[in-house]
């Protein structure tokens, strides 16, 4: 069952929550959702899982950006509630009609919600039934078609549903009559027929969006009132009449439909797949151009295509204007609407931003991020999140879409790169000192990224601030590693703890920490062997080292040169540390040390990729060969470079 449904403003005030459901939630899933998902630019994701002692919830959410509202539904994870998305969309639509910024109490929404919930559940029921009851398959399938659509594709949907409905009126009518005489349980089949009727009517009117509300009314009258045979028959008759109307509208579609129908009847287990082809068929008949569009939207372009289109696009851009995304998006606009109307639009301000408006600007932005070496996956996610935060918003006058997108992205980037936890290591060191135990930092990372070199730099920096440092040479694997560290130690006049090669690094680290607490060192810097993230035995050894010594800081050393691999490295390191840990609360990566920052010019994307994927802040930036070449990350300059 649905546990809770909340409506709140982005400012954080709860406007409405379902009293009826009113189960006390365990923990605070909503706050956690906001803190660890929505504010981390992960709002493009589909759902969020929350674990608390004694409960595990799934949360789904939807934004209304223009009004600044957030709708969140909470339900038990074990129940795969199919209707939540549907319900949220319906609630959003209904609530945005009654919303008034000065009002804070919406008692009357309870009734509306009750109705919406019943409808949504009924629809989910239908979906479930479609697997068991072959007779209903027909009507249901259509129903599904109607309901899948969102606003932007309403029209297409309307024609699809209309075509199907018009054709199958007879069958539906029979269905309805049969169920009426049969059982009460089949009531929804009838409702279903009506649904289609409603959508038919509406789609003919050319308004795909409205069909839901009509549905609601029909459905409701049917659910509430006792079974009125007369009315029902009238409805069926009505439907017949309407069906004829649709027939005339969609006669072209008829021959293909018949084939399609047969297919459905033949293999019903593969129903959904067939459903898909249906879409395409209908589309082909209705509008060839739109089909391509739709396909691209529904499934995403194939990678090959995307790249080609993309590169050619950007080439054009460079040749003609050599300017940024703004011109590109404007160009597309101009092609469609002409110079004057686009000008007028920019002055008057556009009504509401739609996804299709944002797409060109976002694409160009994604391209730009990728040229700055941001991992593709992350650029994609970021753009989705920005799109989610802008969709439905009003465009202010005298602004272009591209500039709006640009500022939204800038805000998002600043938010991501601003550290979530304190990166003041010295403060932590002092705190550990008060407790009379050494502060342990473990450096982990892939081979050759500069762990030892930067360990020495950190040691030098700490030494500058009157902290007693000790190094622990736990790279007992690569020949020369201990000697390398020893050289650094000698140059910096820092004690080093070493046990030679072929020892268990976890044990060496443990002894080093004991030694440190004996001789009064404040910080122990543990050097580990570089390892590829896929190397299971080595990762297990690392996990053991971390578990055994429980360091205060696990610092991931990554090179700024890395591109797409950054995601893989960090996520796998984190994953392996979590999976291979023997304790129930695994230690993950706490911070990132970005090395070789001086070699990358403006391709600073790795910093963003790493921070986004791990959620850990960049604590240091290594930017040269000498001991002094250690910096803090300057968020503003990074953001500026990324969007330059």
């Amino acid at each position: 069952m649905l546990e809770q449904l909340l409506i709140f403003t982005r400012g954080g005030l709860i406007l409405w929550s379902c009293k009826e459901l009113g189960n006390a939630l365990k923990g605070s899933p909503i706050d956690t959702l906001i803190r660890s998902c929505l504010l981390e630019e992960r709002s493009g994701a589909a759902s969020y899982n929350y674990d608390a002692p004694g409960a595990s919830y799934s949360l789904k959410w939807i934004f209304h950006n223009d009004l600044g509202l957030v709708f969140v539904a909470v339900y038990q994870r074990i129940l795969h509630l199919l209707y939540v998305d549907d319900l949220l969309a319906a609630v959003k639509r209904e609530f945005s009609q009654v919303y008034d910024p000065t009002r804070t109490v919406y008692r009357d929404f309870d009734e509306v919600f009750k109705q919406l919930k019943i409808e949504a559940e009924a629809r989910a029921e239908e979906l479930k039934k479609s697997y068991s009851n072959p007779v209903v398959v027909n009507g249901n399938r259509k129903n599904q078609v109607t309901w899948k659509g969102d606003g932007s594709e309403g029209k297409r949907n309307g024609t699809g549903g209309g075509g199907g409905g018009g054709l199958k009126n007879d069958g539906d009518g029979k269905n309805g009559v049969k169920s009426e005489s049969d059982r009460d349980g089949d009531r929804f089949v009838v409702a279903n027929g009506n649904n289609n009727y409603g959508s038919n009517l509406k789609s003919n009117g050319g308004n795909g969006n409205g069909n839901v509300s009509v549905n609601g009314k029909d459905n409701d009258s049917l659910n509430n009132g006792a079974f009125d045979v007369n009315r029902l028959q009238k409805k069926v008759r009505n439907k017949g009449g309407n069906g004829k109307k649709t027939d005339t509208g969609v006669t072209k579609a008829e021959p293909k439909k018949l084939v399609k129908k047969n297919r459905v009847w033949d293999d019903k287990p593969k129903e959904t797949k067939l459903d898909f082809t249906d879409h395409v068929d209908v589309d082909r008949d209705a509008d060839v151009d739109r089909k391509v569009d739709y396909l691209a939207k529904e499934q995403g372009e194939s990678m090959m295509d995307k790249d080609e289109v993309f590169s050619s696009d950007s080439e054009d851009e460079e040749e003609e204007e050599g300017d940024d995304a703004g011109k590109n998006s404007n160009k597309v606009d101009a092609k469609k609407k002409g110079w004057f109307s686009s000008m007028f639009q920019s002055i008057a301000g556009k009504a509401n931003l739609e996804k299709s408006d944002l797409e060109p600007a976002l694409k160009a932005l994604k391209d730009r991020l990728m040229t700055k070496n941001v991992a593709e996956e992350i650029a994609e996610k970021l753009c989705e999140s920005v799109a989610a935060s802008l969709e439905g918003k009003k465009l202010a006058s005298f602004t272009r879409i591209s500039s709006t997108v640009h500022t939204a992205m800038e805000e998002a980037l600043v938010r991501i790169l601003t550290p979530r936890r304190s990166i003041d290591i010295l403060r932590d060191v002092h705190a550990a000192k008060e407790q009379r135990k050494p502060y342990v930092v473990v450096f982990v990372g892939v081979n050759g990224v500069g762990k030892s070199t930067n360990l020495a730099k950190v040691a030098y920096w700490l030494q500058q601030h009157n902290v007693n440092v000790m190094m622990a040479a736990c790279d007992t694997f690569r020949s020369g590693a201990v000697e390398q560290l020893r050289t650094h130690a000698r140059r910096l006049q820092i004690p080093i703890f070493e046990k030679g090669y072929e020892k268990d690094p976890a044990v060496v680290a443990k002894e080093a920490i004991q030694e440190a607490s004996r001789n009064g060192s404040d910080v122990v810097l543990v050097d580990t062997a570089g390892r590829m993230q896929d190397n299971e035995p080595l990762m297990r050894a690392l996990s053991k080292l971390i578990y055994l010594n429980n360091p205060d800081l696990v610092l991931f050393v990554g090179e700024a040169l890395v591109g797409n691999d950054a995601v893989d490295q960090l996520s796998k390191f984190n994953q392996k540390l979590a999976d291979l840990a023997t304790s129930p609360t695994p230690r993950l990566i706490d911070g990132i040390l970005l090395t070789k920052f001086d070699t990358i010019d403006d391709k600073v994307g790795a910093a963003l990729s790493m921070v986004y994927i791990s959620g850990a802040p960049v604590m240091f930036v290594g930017c040269g060969q000498s001991y002094t070449d250690l910096k803090k990350l300057n968020v503003k300059s990074i953001v500026k470079t990324l969007l330059k």
Binding site: F8, R10, T418, D424, L426, K631
Partner: protein, 259 residues
């Protein structure tokens, strides 16, 4: 020397020309022009003066979960409505305090901004601080000790912000949730914050040069830090957002935004 003389001649000639020109103009017009010039400058100056005096912004800051949004709505509507969740965007509004709505006469409305406490949203604070007449740092008195360090770090950042130091924006440390029995007293909280900031002072000043966020140092070097050493006034007060006990906060607001 010759050049200089030449220049002098040239200038005197120009002056003569100007003099003649001025004499040609009727004196009424001249006076009118002068009066207009004086008038406009005066008005501009006055406008500027008023603008500075008019600042009526109070900024609510503090860690996430300390109760800023609740206090914001207590000030505005006198009720917490149906509770709050973590804010994603600042709440801001200009209104007459709820407790003053019954008072007769013209009361100056207050512009109150509730900046989210989530660390990722802290850069937003910089937008509002320069125009603030006062800041309120909300502390959770109930759950204080676990949050002591993050809170003092935030407070340190706030106290060393350029706009705060330069304009001497008064700060109120508001201990929220004091309706609960186990809540700490404001004296205790104040002491703990001072202690923590004292330690932070040592570590922050050591941070490498590349970091330029804190351009001012706090307190007197060599002495343990106390809020009295700040260039701006720092006061403390109790409040309880849930029960609506916010009279001390309202006092602070009215002290800095005159009704």
């Amino acid at each position: 020397m010759q050049e200089l003389d030449q220049w002098k001649e040239h200038i005197s000639h120009l002056l003569n020309v100007a003099n003649d020109y001025i004499r040609e103009i009727p004196s009424d017009q001249l006076y009118a022009a002068a009066a207009i010039a004086v008038f406009t400058t005066l008005i501009l100056l006055l406008l500027r003066f008023f603008k500075r005096a008019k600042s009526n912004t109070i900024v609510l800051t503090g860690l996430s979960g300390s109760g800023k949004t609740v206090i914001f709505y207590q000030l505005k509507d006198g009720s917490t409505h149906q509770g709050t969740v973590t804010s994603m965007e600042p709440n801001e509004d200009t209104f007459i305090l709820h407790s003053e709505t019954l008072k007769k006469g013209k009361i100056k409305p207050v512009h109150i901004v509730d900046v989210p406490g989530h660390s990722r949203l802290r850069p937003k604070l910089d937008e509002y601080l320069p125009q603030a007449a006062g800041t309120v740092f909300v502390v959770d008195a109930l759950d204080f000790l676990p949050n002591c360090r993050p809170a003092s770090e935030y407070l340190y950042d706030l106290l060393t912000k350029g706009s705060v130091v330069r304009k001497k924006i008064p700060l109120l440390i508001l201990c929220n949730k004091t309706d609960k029995v186990t809540a700490h007293t404001k004296e205790f909280i104040c002491r703990q914050l001072e202690k923590e900031i004292d330690k932070l002072r040592a570590s922050r000043s050591a941070v490498s040069d590349a970091d330029v966020t804190n351009e001012f140092t706090l307190g007197v070097p060599g002495e343990p830090f106390s809020f009295k050493q700040c260039s701006n006034t720092v006061t403390t007060a109790d409040a309880s957002g849930l029960t609506g006990e916010i009279s001390q906060l309202e006092e602070f607001i009215r002290q800095h935004v005159k009704p």
